[in-house]
């Protein structure tokens, strides 16, 4: 029995994101976690950037100049898409966690994805044509 100090054959954190051979629920979890990390990063940057408002018009407007860059707009679009997905899937996780619609969690995820994708496309059009 003393030889049983073998560690479990678990793996590293990056295996969270390995969806090979896994099902819908795992995809939902992986996307939820990735968008969470992205959104936390954005939240921090957002708070810092808005701080330039207190430094007067020049500081803020020079930042807004930067924000007209298409690459920047694409970044913003990613944030919107992540927020849409995270929010909607959050509702799915919340509902199922209170016992609602557990047998339909996959269908719910398709609904989440459909709304998130369509919503992101609408935002993309309005952001890039503005």
């Amino acid at each position: 029995m003393s030889e049983r100090e073998n560690k479990p054959n678990t793996s590293n954190w990056f295996m969270w994101f390995d969806v090979r051979h896994r099902d819908i629920g795992d995809w939902a979890f992986v996307l939820h976690r990735l968008t969470a990390l992205g959104l936390v990063l954005y939240l921090g940057m957002h708070l810092i950037v808005l701080g330039t408002l207190t430094l007067g018009p020049e500081a803020f407007n020079s930042f807004i100049e930067l924000a007209h860059n298409p690459l920047f707009i694409f970044g913003e679009l990613l944030v919107v898409a992540a927020a849409l997905y995270h929010g909607l899937n959050g509702l799915r996780v919340g509902l199922t966690s209170f016992g609602v619609a557990i047998p339909y969690q996959k269908q719910l995820w398709y609904v989440v994805m459909a709304i998130a994708v369509i919503g992101s496309i609408i935002f993309a059009i309005s952001m890039f044509t503005a």
């Binding site: 954190w13 969270w16 976690r33 969470a36 990390l37 959104l39 936390v40 939240l43 921090g44 708070l47 808005l50 701080g51 408002l53 207190t54 007067g56 018009p57 803020f60 407007n61 807004i64 924000a67 919107v80 927020a83 929010g87 959050g90 509702l91 919340g94 966690s97 503005a130």
Partner: protein, 123 residues
Amino acid sequence: MNNSISPPKSGQNTWLWFLKMVTGLVIVLVLSVHLIVNHYLPEGGLMRYEDVIAYFSNPLVVLMEIIFLVTVVPHALIGVRSIILDLNPSKGSTRLINWILALVGATAIIYGIWLALTVASLA
């Protein structure tokens, strides 16, 4: 309920999770309003300093932004904590992480409220 029978750590996890759910729901509602009000009501969105200042002159907007702030910061940090817990930290590191996250959260909320009130006062 008498909570004294069970270890205090346990209840903490339940409350944190519950808080994450409630704040999540509030965020979904507030953010929907935020996105619509922020980007669609003003022509072309809030893209100039003066626009933002004028926008913040409305006390309802300030209130909404502060509600958003005080829900999104705990939600984000509880989420970060649960991801860190999945990395299997030791009990000591978990305690340290709890303190760091609480400190970061308090700082972010105080700074955010100061920022919102300052910008509101510029109008």
